[in-house]
Subunit: 358 residues, 4 copies
């Protein structure tokens, strides 16, 4: 619990594996029994995150084929740990030999060495975004626990300075473009903008929004395992994320009390209805029944062609430019990862809810 590679309490998963090792995987402990589960439930989500699908993602070719090794019997979960394995097939450790003694700016090279005294330099080892495939796999299992009522979706809402128009939001559009963005107009803007960035050997940041509908009121464990604090931890743990917002987010600082307070009334069919959602569906750390809405900022990929100043292990000043296969906007592929983390947090709290509710 302390070494840091596990997430969740009742729905708890542990990931393992390095970017250029033989395989990566995840063990989920706490998946309730009797849930229908097969590889076909997981694969589509991995495919969504999978690299090599457009110009705008790394050209590394990984099938990301998942195998269920345990915890499922005759098509259903048994309550035993679910072990999932994904082979690494397109590893090229040699590509990284030239940086084995150098610290890439913006990368974790220097900090892993400071912490562990040893560093697996093959593609970032454990610090690689490849680890997020395991999160996506866990998220797919989490979705099975959430069932059909609770729906988790994500979208890219900003790339560099370009924000989408929220009026143009169309969830169906998300699957039609290469950016997972819900605004067709923005997708056109992103196309030219990112192409230019890629050609310059640069990269750019982004903002991703993830939302869950159908979440019942009552999820979250005050005062430290609040739904919002668990979401913040979950999303901030994704590679390259530097900020997390719930509902009005950082913008809440500029609101007055009367603007911020989401008023309530009795709806047409009875039942409480909120008139706005600045809370992002969470009050006092507990879900209100409204949509849960979170956003996170993803910094630009640190691996860029444009040379940067750095140092090497010998204590010399150097210049470094990273060739190889990298995403010009890693925020794009963070969309399915953010969805997965939100699904895992919600599945965990749905199970925790059972304890106090009975």
């Amino acid at each position: 619990m302390t070494a840091g590679n596990s997430f969740g309490t009742l729905f708890r998963f542990t990931t393992w594996g390095e970017s250029h090792g033989p395989a990566i995987g995840v063990v989920i402990d706490g998946c309730p029994p009797l849930i229908p589960l097969g590889e076909a439930d997981i694969q589509p989500f991995l495919d969504k995150r999978r690299p090599g699908q457009s110009f705008y993602t790394t050209q590394r070719k990984e099938a990301d084929q998942v195998t269920i090794l345990s915890g499922v019997f005759e098509g259903k979960t048994t309550g035993a740990p679910v072990s999932l394995l994904i082979a690494n097939t397109d590893t090229r450790p040699k590509d990284y030999e030239e940086i084995r003694d150098k610290f890439r700016p913006g990368h974790a090279d220097m900090t892993y060495l400071a912490k562990y005294g040893i560093r697996d330099w093959r593609g970032g080892g454990r610090a690689s975004a490849r680890e997020t495939a395991c999160r996506v796999a866990a998220g797919a299992v989490a979705r099975k626990i959430l069932g059909d009522t609770i729906k988790v979706r994500g979208a890219l809402v900003q790339m560099g300075p370009h924000k989408i128009s929220r009026d143009a939001w169309d969830w169906n559009e998300v699957t039609r473009n290469s950016f997972f963005t819900p605004d067709a107009g923005a997708a056109r803007v992103f196309t030219g903008y990112l192409e230019d960035i890629r050609k310059r050997g640069s990269s750019i940041g982004a903002v991703v929004e993830v939302a869950a509908s159908g979440v019942p009121a009552g999820l979250g464990e005050p005062v430290y395992d609040r739904l919002d604090s668990d979401l913040a931890r979950a999303l901030m743990s994704i590679n390259a994320v530097k900020g997390v917002e719930i509902g009005a987010g950082m913008g809440a600082a500029e609101l007055s009390g009367e603007e911020n307070a989401d008023e309530m009334e009795i709806g047409d069919k009875g039942g409480l209805r909120f008139l706005s959602n600045n809370a992002g569906g969470i009050l006092g750390g507990i879900s209100t029944g409204q949509d849960i809405v979170a956003r996170f900022a993803v910094k630009p990929t640190s691996s860029i062609l444009i040379p940067r100043r750095s140092v090497d292990l010998a204590g010399k000043n150097i210049e470094l430019s990273t060739k190889g296969r990298h995403d010009p906007c890693i925020g794009i592929r963070a969309v399915p990862v953010g969805e997965a983390m939100m699904a895992c947090v919600l599945a965990d709290h749905l199970l925790r809810f059972r304890v106090s509710k009975a």
Copy 2:
């Protein structure tokens, strides 16, 4: 571990108590032995957070006097749990009787009831910001573990639309004004601005920045207990917080790879030196040795005089305005709380660092 009132792994504390119950308290398990500790080490931090000190905070009068009940022998910690107790002396449960059957907008009234099926309506019970006194007490103990080298400080950097000038930053100024703000000019602006808000019976949001200097490189446990994800969880768990940023934060979305990458060089005395700190002192979830910098947005106090629409338990539409003793800008008193949470996260990770480092 699952019910949500504990924080931390090796430096772990559990808080208890309601706003208008007989007392509140915190039990710290995992405080290393042989650390000099007395009530005088804790009281100054409680005094800083204590209400009733200016026009701009609630007029509830609490001495917030802390008593150490265990874990200290002859002036030093013994390694046993440190139990701290703070009596509630100015409780007025009657003040809240009129809202016992009503849901205050922006408050946790509705969600606590949804979750637990019962609600301690006396001043918000457990959901009250009074709980944060226990965090501040725990934070004071955490500071003793951090020692003199690691320094944690916080400041108010924005109130409503008014941001401080970072060029005018003076840490000494923070203790001179009622807002914990480091910019004397901003303090003057805030004075008039907040006075107006208070008179209108409204409230306003704010942004708080907390920073730690002297933190060694190597703290943090990838990939889920990263230093940044633990900070995000810690800060988001504070009442009314809606957004958390590390380093460049949400602004990282607008940066290019070459702008964002903090370049490195060998310093004058040898040793690695960073040329910027967009990372906020954290790369790959591990501290770099630079200052750890985090910001969080605090929403405006939900208890306002201006009437808001809501519902009651009988299912009727109502209008609600909250009289009583409340902070017009709760973000101000969140400064010592944010510092405390950062201190606790750092103390925890400093202890965790010992495990892998030996």
Copy 3:
């Protein structure tokens, strides 16, 4: 979670306080809401464990009066942490000054110093059996969760070489004698036997049996948080316990497969019925629906008048005899403590059962 003063996962409590400090206490996090709870539900169990009630227990006079400081509102639990406080009223730290630089054989003096580098020598500090009052208080709350159907009872079944006759077992007898023993004949034997031990300034070991009836089948979390492994941990954590048995216990080593296998049949009213209970109500780490039966051996009190060889902090050989107020057979007062620990384990697993069962 790591510093060792907490127990349980969903029903989780943390104890604090030293034998001769101002107070001891326990914080229970994870008590479900809406359970009727008052001090009167807890006090009787503390009274049972309380010292000074017969010749056969220490003469220290403690009222052991419990106060509920949080987590209860209008007579019911709210789901918030339940904080319980017991003042220490008959402390005599001076009694221990003469051993502050000496290691008492059989005591934790030497090991606490080795571990922490500091030792609260006042009556054993944290290592004192006084800590078990907090377990009993937590156990009383656990019983409220177990409800009326699940009943946890304990009894002394052996003192030194004298075992009770199981044929003479009468649960009503347990409350009639000073030994919590269910065999009236054995109680008479113990009386004379223990009086002799006490007069000689010696002490004696004992075996305690705890049993729970009404436990539904299905409790326990294989393969590491099995019901039996959690019980083993719980009972072995009680001061002075050196052995724990479930069902046939150590005697299982002498059984053949056909003797050990508890046969099953369909009962008169339908439903599965076991023909024996060598399993102690647990198979594969999960409850079977039969009575849960555990036993534990309590070593003799180490504080005896008869002198023993030891060493002091100056590195000198010494002889030590412990005067003062001590139980000649600490196993007696371990009965309510064993019950409490079993109740806590069962309450925890009852809550955990809800998660997988829903």
Copy 4:
């Protein structure tokens, strides 16, 4: 953490896999960096536990070949999770089809169904002793953390009514016979005795002793994560274990205070020396520096040819006799498993010791 398939706090492992699934495995999180580790460090311990090596163990043929999938780079651990995989090669699920609707007495068939509502009946699924291979693999890694100074060894000390002679104890003898017993004379007795049991289609219980030498004083976390309570949990979690003893164990009940107290003196070279070890190397839950000594009773294998009465899922009374490949005395193969669990507990507490000691 709550679903039960993980063990340990700082040295923490999670096992997965069913007896007749494609593979079993273990993920170790918390293995410190820079420890030399290869498959050759693990395989010998698996070979020791491996079935099919003598008449006295199941004839299932498993190579139990371990593969390291992560966490090791250039021959050393990196601090990242160590994932170990063992393929199942000799699975015969069909062998179990006839019991898919029946409850085998002494087995977990009935309780797994009660808990999970579904049961993987192929060879006991998760409840199979096959899971213990993962413990042995984790134990081998734990030994690398313990280093050369701390040595963990186990031995069979009783089979049915036959106890070894402790005067004849010879650790070298343990590797020479098929029983892991240290008394050559006892080995001869066991040979004939077990052959007879096997021929009768019966099985028999046993007692295993595990001991660790070279353990420094100071390991253990009072009052709930004591070294003895963690050992009790660890050993009781092994399949078929019904009793656990530390030092004098259940026999402590018959000792007087003066007999039980392990006297101390200053040794010839200075330094504290104990004159006996009734404590089993643990006082107040903390290691004393003496050998840690624990024993556990293993019940007889429940899978026997001799028919037993039971019931089936249709609610009918039946008779059951288990053919197939089973150990007549499963206690034998429990020896390497007991060693592994002790090694894991000690590695965990050695790391925990670093936290308070620094």
